[in-house]
C-alpha cells in the first residue's frame, strides 16, 4: 500500500496572483466593450430603420452626458484593446525574415501600432472630408 497522497492546489482566484495575469484579464475584458459598441452601432441602425423620429431620439441619447462618458470609457478600452492586440500578435506569426534578418516580435508590434495610428488618422481624415 502506497503512502502517496498527491495534493492538488485550487485554481480559485488564479488571475489575481500575478500582475501578468491581471493584465491578461483586462485584455480579455476589452471584449465586453467591443460587444457593447457593436450593440451601440446596432441600436443606431435599428433606430435608423424605424424612421426619422426614432433616429433623432437616438441622436439625443448620444448627446447625453452619460452617453459621452460611456463613450470616453469605451474609447480608453478600445485603445487598450488595440495595444494589447498588437502586443500578442507576434505570437501568432511564424519566424519571419526580411532581408536575411530575423524579424523580432517587438518590431511586429510596433508596425501594428503604427498601422493603428495611421488607420485612425485616415478615418478621421475621411470623416473630415465628408463633413456637411
Amino acid at each position: 500500500m502506497s503512502a502517496r497522497r498527491p495534493y492538488m492546489r485550487p485554481m480559485n482566484g488564479w488571475w489575481r496572483r500575478d500582475p501578468f495575469f491581471v493584465r491578461y484579464m483586462v485584455r480579455e475584458a476589452t471584449a465586453l466593450v467591443v460587444a457593447l459598441y457593436a450593440v451601440v452601432l446596432l441600436a443606431g441602425t435599428l433606430c435608423l430603420a424605424r424612421g426619422e423620429t426614432s433616429w433623432n431620439a437616438w441622436l439625443a441619447l448620444l448627446r447625453t452626458p452619460a452617453s459621452i462618458l460611456l463613450h470616453l470609457l469605451m474609447l480608453v478600452a478600445m485603445i487598450y484593446h488595440a495595444y494589447s492586440w498588437f502586443e500578442i500578435m507576434p505570437k501568432t506569426l511564424p519566424v519571419l525574415f526580411i532581408g536575411g534578418r530575423r524579424v523580432a516580435g517587438t518590431t511586429i508590434t510596433r508596425v501594428g501600432l503604427i498601422a493603428a495610428a495611421l488607420a485612425t488618422l485616415v478615418t478621421l481624415a475621411v470623416a473630415w472630408t465628408l463633413r456637411p
Partner: protein, 118 residues
C-alpha cells in the same frame, strides 16, 4: 481525437479583433464623442438624411454589417473563453449565450440594414 470546431469562431475573432484594433478607437471617437458634442465634426454629420443615404448605399451597408458582426463575433469568442477562465464552466448554456447572442445581433443587423432600403 475529436477535431475542434473552434477555427470558425477563431477566424471571426481574429478578423473582428483586427478591425477593432485598427478602427475601433476612431469610430468610438467619431460616433460617440466628436459628432454628439460637435467637436472636430458638426452635429449634423450624423443627421437622418445623411445617415439614411449612407445605410442605403451598398458600401455603407457593407461597412455597418462588417463592423457590427465582426465586433460581436470577436467579443463572443473572447467572452466565451473568459467565462472558462473565471471558472464558469463552459457548457451548452455558456456557448448558447455567447455565440447565440452574437447570432441574434447578426440577424438584427441584417434585418435593419435591409429595412432601410436601397
Amino acid at each position: 481525437m475529436k477535431r475542434s470546431g473552434q477555427p470558425v469562431f477563431w477566424v471571426l475573432f481574429g478578423a473582428g479583433g483586427m478591425l477593432a484594433a485598427l478602427f475601433g478607437p476612431a469610430l468610438v471617437f467619431i460616433t460617440g464623442i466628436a459628432v454628439p458634442l460637435g467637436v472636430l465634426l458638426p452635429q449634423g454629420f450624423m443627421n437622418y438624411s445623411r445617415m439614411l443615404s449612407f445605410a442605403q448605399h451598398w458600401a455603407g451597408k457593407a461597412f455597418l454589417l462588417g463592423a457590427i458582426t465582426l465586433f460581436i463575433w470577436h467579443a463572443a469568442h473572447r467572452i466565451f473563453h473568459s467565462l472558462h477562465d473565471l471558472g464558469i464552466h463552459t457548457g451548452v448554456v455558456a456557448r448558447t449565450l455567447c455565440y447565440g447572442g452574437a447570432g441574434v445581433v447578426t440577424l438584427l443587423a441584417v434585418w435593419s440594414l435591409s429595412a432601410v432600403g436601397l
